[in-house]
Amino acid sequence: MTSDAQERADLAEILGRCRYGDALAWEALVRQFQSRVYGIAFHYVGDAEDARDLAQEIFVRVYRRLDSCADEHMFLPWLVRISRNACIDFLRRRKGRPVAAECSEEDLARSRAPGLNPEEHCAADFRSRLIYRAFRRLTALNREVILLREILELPLEQIAGLLSIPLGTVKSRISRARVELAQRVTALGLQPDDSG
């Protein structure tokens, strides 16, 4: 059994147990997906503390609606949908409050890729910082499609379903968003040798 298949089988088992109220399985589910949910919330709202509260709210919603998730194949898109809806609700509630435009060094450090040596860590941090700044400067529409496609790596069809728009529109939005991202990264001074 491949690791993907094993992961799916594990998820199916965990979801099945969660539906019958197994607290241990629920804890396993939370631990498995908390970094992903927090990541989504953080990228939507741009503030670490708000994202933490929001991620907690998302898990409460997930807990209440677990019965409506058909199977483990659809769990991730379902989770992203719930997270997105919660984030949009939060942003509506927060309307009028100032939005944090930049993430802190601590927040960025949390997103470091594991298993890199110190030199690679520095390069990764430099790149991450530039790319994150470019990402935060995108328009809300473009930022969302970059989040869904590049960061969460959702298939185009799932993005179309999530945003309730045709596949062709998704492709053109992603194309526009990528061009804007590339232009902003270039403007912020990312050079090929910097990746190093």
């Binding site: 539906r19 019958y20 109220g21 197994d22 607290a23 241990l24 629920w26 804890e27 939370v30 631990r31 908390q34 970094s35 992903r36 927090y38 990541g39 953080f42 990228h43 994202a51 933490r52 991620a55 907690q56 898990f59 409460v60 807990y63 209440r64 019965d67 927040d107 949390r110 997103s111 470091r112 890729a113 990764a124 790149r127 991450s128 790319i131 994150y132 470019a134 970059i146 590049e150 960061i151 969460l152 790596e153 185009l156 492709k171 053109s172 992603i174 194309s175 990528r178 061009v179 991202l181 590339a182 232009q183 990264v185 270039t186 990312l190 090929p192 990746s195």
Partner: protein
């Protein structure tokens, strides 16, 4: 010389095709060595000489595009996106790369996007910090279920059912259903009559819940059917004593019994949904919330 040049030009196609007779071919070669114009003509014909000055080809292409379809950068940028997604055919890729060789701004976009892709992956998972899991568990799990290897099969199923975190809510809804169809609208009754009827409804609920637990041995579907049948019979008995409430009861009962019940987890939430919808439809939603408060008061 002009005659020789004219003869060379007339023989050029045969010379290129290799079908010019040998003596004529030798004369043509000798003429080329002495005539710069014909030598240049031959080199152009075999592709050894570009008639355009260096760099002039690119500007010519730009001029032609200006007068025809316009710059192809927009289409190229869509192509770059498709190329990154791995959705571009080899033929389209070749056409795209011909554009990229001539268009530095589009080439820069592709290079930047290719470099940034790997940096996005770690951004998908960000650790929320210590204590987050515990906070989520505290906000969701009301009662923990420690693993008990001694309990298997039907006992485990029953234990799991009874320890469901949402069971308290589900029981409350089930009780409210029975309360509504046997007692009616609590807000319209006197307190003494209400207490008596609530006790009766509570007894009915207790009996039904006992049977639910016992029927757990027969499996999930059996339990759901059992509950539906038992409630149906109880409601039929309620018809005689509750008179005018029968129409209301019948609507609720029909909706509950018509439900396609499969997994146990869907059963009680579905009743809740049905009740809420019916309650909204026939103006019982306020009664429903009052009944919930009475339920808490009785406990």
């Amino acid at each position: 010389m002009k005659e020789e040049c004219s003869q060379f030009e007339s023989q050029l196609s045969d010379l290129l095709a290799g079908i010019l007779p040998l003596p004529a071919s030798i004369r043509a070669q000798e003429h080329m060595s002495s005539c710069r114009k014909c030598r240049r003509l031959y080199k152009t014909a075999v592709g050894e000489l570009d008639l355009l000055a260096p760099g002039a080809g690119q500007s010519l292409a730009v001029e032609i595009l200006k007068k025809t379809s316009g710059p192809a950068c927009q289409r190229a940028q869509d192509g770059i996106s498709e190329f990154i997604d791995g959705a571009l055919t080899p033929g389209d890729s070749r056409i795209l790369f011909m554009h990229l060789q001539a268009c530095p701004s589009c080439a820069e976009i592709l290079r930047t996007l290719t470099e940034t892709r790997s940096a996005f992956r770690p951004m998908a998972r960000i650790q929320p910090g210590t204590g987050f899991t515990e906070e989520v568990l505290a906000a969701t799990t009301r009662r923990s279920v420690p693993a008990d290897p001694g309990k298997t099969g039907s006992r485990r199923w029953r234990t799991d059912l009874l320890h469901r975190p949402r069971l308290a809510w589900e029981l409350a809804y089930l009780f409210t259903l029975i309360l509504l169809v046997t007692v009616g609208n609590p807000a319209l009754m006197s307190m003494d009559a209400l207490r008596g009827k609530v006790r009766f409804a509570w007894t009915v609920t207790a009996v039904e819940l006992e049977r639910v637990s016992a029927a757990g041995l027969a499996g999930v579907e059996g339990t759901a059917e059992h509950v539906g049948e038992r409630m149906g019979r109880r409601l039929a008995e309620a018809e005689q004593s509750l008179g005018s409430l029968w129409d209301r009861s019948r609507k609720i009962t029909a909706a509950v019994l018509a439900t396609d019940i499969t997994p146990a987890g869907m059963f009680l939430p579905r009743i809740r949904t049905i009740l809420l919808n019916i309650g909204r439809g026939i103006g019982l939603d306020r009664t429903f919330s009052r009944a919930m408060r009475y339920l808490e008061w009785m406990r």
